[in-house]
């Protein structure tokens, strides 16, 4: 059976991501799950926006697109509409997909475009140095919230599940088997499916918020999140799992 390495451009390793960054974990798991699902350069394409996560598309061994900031979804929707034979996977950051691309998230999900979205949620703008994002948790120190963020984080689950048909999964880079299951189910879902993955950013978020190491950040997810294997209604704040309605 095909595995992660079959879908990764080995000649481009190492990636540009910092040591200990969660994006690498997600990339590797996504490549593995896609390979296991039989996806390859003839039947799939990966589309990214801009940001640290935005660089993910370029590491896949298949046709891939690195679009402009926030615009991965409409590009992906267009490809999916014209080419139902292709599995279209979007991999992008939280700022990209929920802030500058937030309007597209509302509408691509509402139209139930046949796109699988892997949202790397590090709760910060990584690429530009660590400014606050719509996902930033209250109290977090970022470059633009020097005394701690006060704003409400965006409710991604709420946006996705406001659509009659929906697939929303939440996982973390600590819960790898769970993450794989979420990715596999999302890929198999006919229509718009989004996996919201809590991912550590040790260099930007971690350093500003006095986290000593990437390991400490990843292990914190173990404390903060519990798997809910069969959510009734929506996931509570500290829960990870899959919420779907066909």
């Amino acid at each position: 059976m095909a595995e992660a390495k079959d879908l990764i451009k080995q000649e481009r390793m190492p990636t540009l991501w910092c040591a200990g960054c969660g994006i690498g974990i997600i990339f590797h798991q996504l490549a593995g799950v896609m390979a296991a699902a039989g996806l390859n350069s003839k039947n799939a394409t990966v589309v990214s926006g801009i940001g640290c996560t935005g660089r993910m598309a370029g590491y896949f061994k298949m046709d891939s697109l690195h679009t402009t900031h926030g615009r991965a979804l409409p590009v992906a929707e267009a490809i999916a509409a014209y080419r139902p034979d292709l599995k279209v996977v979007v991999a992008s950051g939280d700022g990209d997909l929920t802030s500058i691309g937030g309007n597209h998230l509302l509408h691509t999900s509402r139209r139930d475009a046949n796109v699988t979205v892997v949202l790397v949620n590090n709760e910060i703008y990584g690429m530009t140095g660590g400014q606050s994002a719509p996902t930033t948790r209250p109290g977090s120190i970022t470059l633009t919230t020097p005394v701690g963020s006060e704003a409400n984080p965006i409710n991604i689950q709420g946006i996705i599940t406001s659509n009659r048909r929906h697939f929303y999964a939440r996982s973390t880079v600590f819960h790898v088997p769970h993450l794989k299951k979420c990715l596999a189910e999302a890929l198999a879902w006919p229509g718009f499916a989004l996996v919201d993955i809590k991912s550590d950013c040790p260099e930007r978020w971690g350093k500003m918020n006095k986290v000593k190491s990437p390991a400490e950040m990843i292990l914190a997810y173990k404390q903060q999140f519990k798997i809910n294997p069969k959510p009734v209604g929506l996931l509570a704040d500290g829960e990870i799992g899959i919420v779907k309605r066909g």
């Binding site: 451009k9 481009r12 350069s41 003839k42 039947n43 799939a44 394409t45 589309v47 660089r55 598309a57 370029g58 061994k61 298949m62 046709d63 891939s64 697109l65 690195h66 679009t67 402009t68 615009r71 979804l73 409409p74 590009v75 992906a76 929707e77 267009a78 490809i79 509409a81 014209y82 080419r83 034979d85 292709l86 309007n103 597209h104 509302l106 509408h107």
Partner: protein, 346 residues
């Protein structure tokens, strides 16, 4: 069959004739009909995809996705929407994605006069996106030309592997003239040069990248090589698309230069002045303009904006160019005649 057709319908028919099979857009007057024809056509033809997007930013990137997916792709808008599309024009240029952006111009800035025609987007069409790039812009002046040059826009986009701006206006878009598209001879649809997605291991990026699609964002030499070769590619492709009309007037010392809807008025003055009408606005027809201009003492540019193209022509000819600005949607002969009198042409 001969029938009354609007400029917007003819533009859509031309797109179809060129083999376009993907449309994404967002409603805006005076371009709406193009979108409506696309929606209607898609409803009856499985091989044509239509997407109504949430805004013009989405529409512009969607046609980039559609084009890479394998479809000749286009969108239509007007000034406010065209402004929102500018970042994507640059992306299409950088990624070398053939796309056609139709701008049915109206009076701006901002929401301006939505139902009144203008030609105020000349510089937006040529320099609206950030950074340096060589724009491709065609401007028809009749219903027949909407059809004919829509075909050419798609062909040029394919040959140059680049976005083409098809610049009409609210007047030409809504003008109805009797034509028979089946009898109008147009160029054959251009072949697609690139295999669609799902056939390789290519990386399409807006970053500076090497031949393998690997980002090289700190390589000034690579940028310079890329920049000049891309520009050359565009200029070479555009060679075949030098569309213009020139009617000399040996008895006159004045050359009128005009395009699009304004040129319909200026055509009336051919007995008094020389008449030059660029259809390809960009790349500017430098040699053709210079050759025509040298026989006249006075050069007058008539356009529905405050001298946007006149400034370009002045730069090319390196001599004084007089301007007649048709502003506020008033596309009429009287103000032109008055101005010509004051510069003692008549």
């Amino acid at each position: 069959m001969k029938r009354l057709i609007s400029g917007n319908e003819a533009t859509f028919l031309g797109a179809r004739k060129a083999g376009a099979s993907f449309y994404a857009g967002y409603p805006i007057t005076p371009s709406n009909e193009i979108m409506e024809y696309a929606a209607k056509y898609a409803a009856g033809h499985k091989d044509f995809r239509f997407l109504q997007m949430e805004d013009e930013i989405a529409s512009a990137v969607a046609i980039i996705g559609g084009s890479l997916a394998g479809a000749k792709s286009f969108t239509a808008t007007s000034g406010p929407g065209f402004s929102l599309m500018q970042e994507s024009v640059g992306l299409a240029y950088m990624m070398s994605v053939p796309t056609v952006f139709i701008d049915v111009q109206r009076v701006g800035p901002s929401t301006g006069m939505p139902t009144y025609p203008a030609q105020g987007d000349i510089l937006q069409a040529s320099h609206g996106s950030h950074g340096d790039y060589q724009a491709l812009v065609l401007a028809p002046n009749s219903v027949e030309e909407c059809y004919r040059y829509a075909v050419e826009s798609f062909n040029l986009a394919e040959e140059a592997q680049s976005p083409v701006i098809f610049l009409t206006d609210g007047f030409v878009g809504h003008l109805e003239e009797v034509i028979d598209p089946d009898q109008i001879e147009v160029s054959a649809p251009a072949k697609r040069l690139r295999e669609p997605l799902g056939t390789g291991c290519r990386h399409f990026t807006g970053l500076l990248a090497d031949k393998n699609g690997i980002p090289r964002t700190a390589d000034s030499k690579l940028y310079q090589d890329w920049y000049w070769s891309r520009k050359k590619q565009i200029l070479t492709a555009a060679e075949k698309y030098k569309f213009f009309e020139y009617v000399p007037n040996k008895k006159s010392d004045t050359l009128l230069i005009s395009f699009g809807i304004s040129s319909r008025l200026c055509a009336e003055l051919q007995k008094d002045c020389g008449y030059f009408r660029p259809i390809r606005l960009y790349p500017i027809l430098e040699n053709e303009l210079k050759a025509a201009a040298k026989d006249y003492k006075k050069i007058v540019v008539v356009e529905a904006n405050d001298g946007q193209y006149a400034g370009e022509i002045e730069r090319v000819l390196k001599r004084e160019v007089r301007r007649i600005a048709l502003l506020g949607g008033e596309i009429k002969l009287t103000p032109i005649l008055k101005r010509l009198e004051s510069i003692s042409v008549k």
